[in-house]
């Protein structure tokens, strides 16, 4: 799995943390922060919610570290915690009936470094992603942004491979329609 790069290094850090060296956890946080941030921001569409989810995932992983059966697979295990945390966050947000259309801080950063056309394109993608069913969005991001295999996705999400393939297919179809609505295709 792409998430599991540097597995032996992870295993060593996990062993040190479990031996009482809490500071060693900083190495794991630094290693996985950006990967987790990307998924959480894309999945939740909101930077502050994403930061909260990532922070919470790291803390939960630390608490549950003795239950990480294979320290070499710490990355996928941590990612699984984040996927679940994002689901919870999304469900909670849905109950609040909050609608987030754009990740504004990200757009501002993009505005500085990109052309107006690129900014517009990113906003359209964010708009289309926001309109996907959360399960479809999750499947699309895990498959085509995080580049996970279907077996890896099944391990993370608990869903069957055929169900996941269907979700990815539906997500792509829906994305295609939504992006077409923006007259860019």
């Amino acid at each position: 799995m792409g998430i599991g790069q540097g597995m032996s290094q992870d295993a060593e850090l996990v062993r040190r943390v479990l031996a009482g060296d809490a500071a060693a956890y900083g190495g794991l946080v630094a290693h996985y922060r950006d990967r987790l941030a990307r998924y959480a921001v894309r999945m939740l569409g909101d930077r502050s919610d994403a930061e909260e989810a990532v922070q919470d995932a790291f803390v939960r992983a630390y608490r549950s570290l003795p239950r990480c059966d294979d320290p070499q697979r710490f990355g996928p295990w941590l990612f699984g915690i984040l996927v679940n945390r994002c689901r919870t966050s999304y469900a909670r947000r849905a109950r609040r009936e909050r609608v987030v259309l754009h990740d504004e801080p990200a757009s501002l950063v993009a505005a500085v470094s990109s052309t107006a056309e690129r900014l517009e394109w990113e906003a359209e993608i964010a708009w289309a992603l926001e309109r996907l069913d959360p399960l479809y969005r999750e499947a699309f991001l895990l498959r085509h942004v995080e580049d996970l295999s279907y077996d890896e996705m099944a391990t993370l999400t608990g869903a069957g491979v055929s169900a996941l393939k269907m979700r990815v297919l539906r997500a792509c179809e829906r994305m295609r329609v939504l992006l077409k609505e923006t007259n860019r295709v």
Binding site: Q55, Y62, V109, L169, M175
Partner: protein
């Protein structure tokens, strides 16, 4: 559209996926916040040899087994079950191992006569003297 079975994207969704792969930077203070929360939690303590053994026992493992080895294993299990079933059918009846020969000695110096019966086998009148 999906181009092959590996569902590689080729159209606008591929462009979208490529854009979504761009790095996202969160607040640089996130690491510090995580570590501050963690430092407030109890430190993990090594569980000693017993804890390590327990962890080793609980760790799932993946075994690679060829179909031939699988058949051999199944045949082995079947053979063990067969032998166990056979030995059970030829086993000594329950209680047989507990039987012990007992000698009864009756002392009756003033008896005028003797008449010994087997109280279990009523068809036998008297035992041999």
């Amino acid at each position: 559209m999906f181009e092959r079975d590996d569902d590689t994207l080729t159209d606008v969704t591929a462009r979208a996926a490529a854009s979504l792969k761009a790095a996202v930077r969160l607040d640089p203070a996130l690491d510090a916040r995580v570590m501050a929360q963690i430092s407030a939690l109890p430190t993990h303590r090594p569980g000693g040899s017993l804890g390590r053994a327990w962890s080793w026992l609980r760790r799932p493992r993946t075994f690679a087994l060829s179909p031939l080895a699988g058949l051999a294993a199944a045949a082995g299990v079947a053979a063990i079950v067969f032998v166990a079933a056979r030995s059970a059918s030829t086993a000594v009846p329950i209680g047989a191992a507990d039987r012990t020969a007992v000698e009864f000695l009756l002392v009756a110096p003033r008896a005028a006569s003797e008449d010994v019966f087997d109280p279990i086998r009523a068809d036998v009148d008297a035992l041999q003297r």
